[in-house]
């Protein structure tokens, strides 16, 4: 029984971390049709931002939840203005340019911080579940993921900003005719997506540590989640995270973590063969 509870928490954690690392990408891809291959590096920068802020004496909670998203969000806006905006409508070129950006950021952080793993210890202790102990931080990550997803839903559904964003996503020309400025919406969207990536990177930094090439560990998983999810940002991310997170964690539990990841990626390839439009291309079509 305890084991089942523990496994349930692990599965929930896998789902939550998948959703966290993917949601920034999902917003950028879903709203702007931009495949941001530098997504993993945004997560990495979030981790570094949190670590640098903590080492300057800022409380770890503020560093993770406030500093990291703001820093990476600003970087995102700069990137959008400097590179992405010239490439709208040229999906392949955006992919290549953001890949270049990803290499550039890896190189830059290596030059600045060195090619070593920097860690911050996870706050919160551990909790007892029957005969087992698990880190309370796991529960914190799950809670953050729930809050982020709930927040996105609320903003998209009930605020004017969300309305404008959804309108621009559906038909940019029509939105422009009604007085919205699509370039500004795109810049803000990119910034928000980057900020959420920064948040995710910072929240996961105590779990994994941070090093310049950590983005690689995230990027495949988050892409697979977004593409597996399909066009709808929220329901897509959530449904794909649930599916892949469960597969990943169960395979990890039965075999090894590496095989868990292989199972996740293999499942994703099969899923895309079966549902080329992603899960939300077939199910939950009316979701956000």
């Amino acid at each position: 029984m305890d084991l089942i509870a523990l496994l349930a928490i692990q599965v929930l954690y896998a789902v939550a971390s998948l959703a966290l690392i993917s949601v920034g990408l999902a917003i950028i891809f879903g709203m702007m049709r931009v495949i941001n291959l530098a997504h993993g590096e945004f997560l990495m920068l979030g981790g570094y931002a949190a670590i640098v802020a903590t080492s300057h004496g800022i409380s770890i909670w503020i560093a993770m939840l406030v500093v990291a998203p703001i820093v990476v969000g600003l970087i995102g806006i700069v990137v959008e203005r400097a590179i992405i905006r010239f490439l709208y409508g040229r999906m392949i070129d955006t992919m290549l340019a953001t890949w270049g950006l990803s290499l550039f950021l890896v190189g830059l952080t290596t030059a600045i911080f060195g090619n070593t793993t920097v860690g911050i210890s996870a706050p919160l202790g551990s909790i007892q579940i029957g005969a087992y102990r698990t880190s309370a931080y796991t529960l914190f990550v799950i809670a953050i993921a729930a809050i982020v997803l709930g927040g996105i839903f609320a903003v998209m559904r009930w605020t004017r900003l969300g309305l404008i964003a959804r309108g621009t996503m559906q038909n940019a020309n029509m939105a422009a005719a009604l007085g919205v400025n699509p370039p500004r919406v795109y810049a803000i969207t990119f910034g928000v997506g980057a900020a959420l990536s920064g948040l995710a990177g910072a929240v996961l930094a105590p779990v994994s540590g941070v090093f310049p090439t950590i983005g690689v560990a995230y990027v495949a998983k988050s892409f697979i989640t977004v593409i597996g999810g399909g066009a709808a940002i929220l329901s897509g991310t959530v449904s794909a995270s649930v599916l892949f997170g469960t597969i990943n964690q169960i395979a990890t539990f039965v075999t090894t973590p590496v095989f868990g990841e292989v199972a996740l990626l293999a499942a994703a390839i099969v899923l895309i063969r079966l549902l080329p439009q992603g899960i939300t291309g077939r199910f939950f079509r009316r979701g956000l």
Binding site: L87, G100, V106, G107, L108, A111, I112, A220, V262, R273
Partner: protein, 356 residues
């Protein structure tokens, strides 16, 4: 001179320069230069494999290094088990080709769009990297070959003359083999692209729907192109394993995949000579940057200039934004417009005289 004449002239030029390079280099250059050039030639074969499937087939494959690495690993593992290189060499071509065919079946018959295709190939590369990287323990072995995980497989036996185990290839022989392979690949691909098959895959790249309505099955043609590309990359991988007598999982890595893409985009999509030039140029640049790596590394600027990923990233962004066609097509366009302008000026210089 018309376009056909230029074509023939270009082919002859490439052939003459290539042969001269192949024959003269080992006689004129030091052995370590020859060794460096050998790996450039091997990588150029790899660049050609992507030039075919991306430049002509329109298939953006971010995971060409997967086939390259698979070829290298197949050769290494088969070599340790068999000990005679004829079969391992064939396996190093067949296995990546089969893998490309399987992957291609999922992608092309699933009718996945270009962009997803890039992401899937990238993912597959990462899967291979992660799984091979984690096989460090002695329990991971295939026959007599230990996989070695992140340590790689050292001491791979070199190629030998087919069915003659005693005559193994030396460093100079490796250079001849690599350069010969590059020339053969180049001319083979030119031939392939001039054939009906080549015309059809270019037609599919230009307009898939139209090609389909004309009765060609784009899925089958793309699959065939992709498989050929996989076989070529596997062959390059086999040569690479021979060159260093060593393979490690980094050849599956993202950095390697990115390099191949950069070679092709710098040289120019839709040409064959462009990616070869891009490949050699970028590799030379990387080597030059790596050479002046400061040992102390205190100064940030010197750290930045010694940092190959950073420079490659900037090159990639710059080319996508400023020279999206690549160097060779850009120079060709430039030459053509100069030629046209001169012709126009000549024509104009003629007219006023007539008017007077």
């Amino acid at each position: 001179m018309n376009a056909r004449g230029f074509n023939v002239l270009g082919l002859v030029l490439v052939g003459v320069i290539g042969l001269a390079f192949m024959i003269l280099t080992p006689r004129l250059a030091e052995l370590d230069t020859v060794l460096d050039l050998t790996v450039y030639m091997i990588m150029a074969v790899l660049a050609l494999s992507l030039a075919l499937i991306w430049g002509y087939g329109g298939i953006l494959c971010f995971g060409q290094s997967a086939f390259f690495g698979l070829g290298a690993y197949t050769y290494a593992i088969a070599m340790f088990n068999i000990g005679e290189s004829t079969l391992p060499l064939l396996l190093a071509i067949i296995l990546p080709a089969a893998f490309a065919a399987l992957l291609g079946y999922f992608m092309f018959y699933g009718r996945i769009s270009d962009v997803y295709l890039g992401v899937i190939t990238l993912t597959v590369t990462l899967i291979l990297f992660n799984s091979v990287n984690s096989t460090a323990g002695p329990e991971f072995h295939i026959g007599a070959a230990r996989l070695g995980g992140f340590n790689g497989i050292p001491g791979i036996p070199p190629l030998n003359w087919p069915f003659d185990k005693a005559t193994t290839i030396d460093l100079e022989g490796m250079f001849y083999l690599a350069t010969g392979s590059l020339l053969l690949t180049y001319f083979g691909l030119r031939l392939l692209l001039a054939s009906q098959f080549g015309r059809i895959i270019v037609g599919i790249r230009e307009n898939e729907r139209r090609a389909e309505l004309l009765g060609y099955d784009p899925r089958a043609y793309k699959l065939a192109t992709f498989t050929i590309g996989g076989a070529l990359a596997g062959f390059a991988g086999c040569l690479f394993a021979n060159w260093g007598n060593f393979v490690s999982p980094t050849i599956f890595g993202l950095a390697q995949s990115a390099q191949i893409i950069i070679w092709v985009i710098v040289g120019g999509r839709g040409t064959l000579i462009g990616p070869v030039i891009g490949c050699i140029g970028i590799q030379w640049l990387s080597a030059a940057l790596g050479a002046n790596q400061p040992s102390s590394g205190s100064d940030l600027w010197s750290k930045i200039f010694a940092n190959a990923p950073l420079i490659l990233g900037v090159i990639l962004i710059a080319f996508v934004l400023l020279v999206p066609k690549g160097l060779v097509p850009m120079l060709a366009d430039l030459g053509q417009s100069l030629l046209r302008r001169r012709r126009e000026r000549a024509a104009r210089g003629f007219e006023p005289q007539q008017a007077e």
